[in-house]
Symmetry: C2
Subunit: 379 residues, 2 copies
């Protein structure tokens, strides 16, 4: 029933219809994940899709400013934005309408975001999001909790064997700052690190002092978390970088304590894609080719409140999750009350006109002697 | 608050945050109603929030054209609209991607719609919708089914004692056409009927022939369905109007057969607010002051397919529904595994730092001897 080739004349690029049975499945996945969030005390908020751009693009919203559709509000004559991310809205709610509640505040949300342009790898311009934000808590246990809760939400919808990739987006900038690396050197180093070009990094840090001399070792340390933490521990880090490493060890320890079986990797020098994160950053990968299922980490929320959160991508979760068992469709002849069969889990599909046969209504079951029986498949 | 210092809490008029516990409650209501739709064989679709305006505003979409936010797609350089109604999108999906499936096709949807302007009575500019469309079925039983399914969905979320108001938006135009009433007479009659001004209607139809002479009797007939149907039956209607009355009697009979206790009213001359309906039109009212909970009725879908549907308004349903039982919040000291208590229905709220007391985390329960006990309320 699904046709994965949308007619390009029909819908704008990157905007698609979700059809049966995927639309129902995605909604069920989202609510199952939201139920896990709620079970950990995360309370749901629902910000509007549109709001004034000055509040939408404040704080972490600045990271998606150029991806935000803007339109004029004819009522106020002010510019509004169509949200490209939900975290900035949750930050606004936490700081204003829920500003008087004691901290930490645990909030969750589910909804759609829109982007001006897709990328070649991620062409979608409308993306579902479901996430948690823990605002006003600075403890490493808070970062651990949002990671654990996201993993548990994925497990609740049948996606296990995930891998948690931890990065420290402030580590490289801290080392560059200590070394006083500016201008061309900073730019070249960032580029070489971004391209994982260890030969170029080794050449660039030659004779640049101890802060940068650790970079080749940190690059080589990327991998399973235990080995990477040991390498961080062995490295001669300046105090600012040492604090980042100690915090990472605390967060990973707290995650290990609650999820001993979780596969965790740590890349101390990776910093791509995390534009407003101030501590550990997380990416959850699904098994096989499922790709990124969630992203998150520590940031600074409105009013300089420490915060940490995770955003799950239900479209990716849908691809990674086992398919739903199709609901049996029971043909209901005119005048028969189907309530009893609906209570048993059947979708009852009523014949409303003489032409409404079980085949036309795509039924899998029909009544015989008052009992649902499967309709034999035709050759 | 001054004009030059915008309040960061300020959202555009008609756009609001839904906060705890309402946001969770609304989502639960929507999914419970969608589960009822699915149990009757309605398959979920999820069209995008944005699409090209020519497809969005085609067919029944024309009725909301002036309420649709428009924006330029930088990718295609074509105008897109932010949907103000979901029915036109479902019609597009039924006619194109699902065009090859046999009829009737039962589809359902849930999502947000946006409007350029609110009204004094309905200021919201973002509205949740959840609805069903039955496409390719012309039988009165199809109209009856969508009404019954909507009533059942409301009952599933605790909203009973609803009232179904049936109107016949084509009746007055049919009578005016038969009478050849044009120009000023047509305009004045429509206005008088709209204002329920029976004296003015009686004066205007004086000497205008038998087709219009029935109007005062039809106006007086508005009320409980049985009486209104009897009055329609007794009236001397021209054939076009008679067909509308006979169809209404069939639809109401089919509803009565499946929902004998449902309160139904019929107003044969009401036509306000139904701009694309071609047969019976429905409004579901909640008990007391709950207002409109749903609207729908018969229309012509894309490719001239007969169709009928109902849209429920989850924001109104939320106001009419009984409040949710708040989830108990159990304080979880460091190191305690809460899985068992979450399985019992508690939200476990973990202490992550020394200051995280049961009071700060707004917990209702704490563990004593390993068992959750209520925390006494403070004076």
């Amino acid at each position: 029933m699904t046709d994965d080739l949308p007619n390009p004349a029909l819908l704008p690029a990157g905007l698609a219809d979700l059809l049966p049975p995927e639309a129902e499945r995605e909604a069920a996945l989202v609510e199952a994940m939201m139920a896990v969030f709620a079970s950990h005390g995360y309370e749901r908020v629902k910000p509007p899709l549109l709001e004034f751009e000055d509040s939408l693009l404040a704080g972490s919203g600045a990271a998606v400013a150029e991806q935000t559709f803007r339109l004029m509000d004819p009522v106020s004559q002010r510019m509004m934005g169509l949200r490209a991310d939900t975290t900035p809205q949750v930050a606004r709610i936490a700081a204003t309408r829920l500003g008087a509640l004691p901290r930490p505040l645990r909030l969750c949300y589910a909804g759609q975001v829109l982007r001006v342009r897709g990328t070649q790898l991620a062409p979608s311009r409308q993306l579902p999001q479901a996430g948690v934000e823990l605002i006003g808590g600075a403890a490493p246990e808070a970062d651990a909790e949002v990671a654990i809760v996201a993993v548990e939400a994925l497990a609740a919808v049948g996606v296990s064997a995930v891998s948690l990739d931890v990065t420290l987006p402030t580590m490289v900038p801290a080392l560059l700052d200590v070394a006083g690396a500016e201008g061309a050197l900073r730019h070249r180093l960032a580029r070489a690190l971004d391209r994982k070009d260890s030969a170029a990094v080794a050449a660039l840090v030659q004779g640049q002092g101890p802060a940068l001399a650790v970079l080749p070792a940190l690059m080589a340390a990327a991998g399973p978390a235990d080995g990477a933490l040991a390498a961080l521990d062995a490295a001669e880090l300046p105090p600012a970088a040492e604090a980042i490493a100690v915090n990472a060890a605390s967060v990973l320890g707290a995650i290990r304590a609650r999820a001993p079986g979780l596969r965790i990797t740590l890349d101390p020098v990776e910093f791509r894609g995390f534009r407003y994160h101030t501590g550990v950053a997380f990416t959850l990968y699904g098994p096989g080719m499922a790709g990124e299922l969630a992203r998150g980490g520590r940031y600074v929320s409105q009013n300089d409140e420490p915060a940490t959160g995770m955003t799950l991508y239900p479209d990716a979760v849908l691809r990674a999750a086992p398919p739903a068992t199709p609901r049996p469709r029971l043909f209901l002849p005119p005048g028969v009350d189907g309530a009893r069969f609906r209570a048993e889990g059947y979708a009852t599909v009523a014949a409303l006109a003489p032409g409404d046969t079980p085949q036309r209504l795509r039924c899998t079951h029909e009544l015989r002697d008052g009992r649902p029986v499967p309709i034999p498949a035709k050759d």
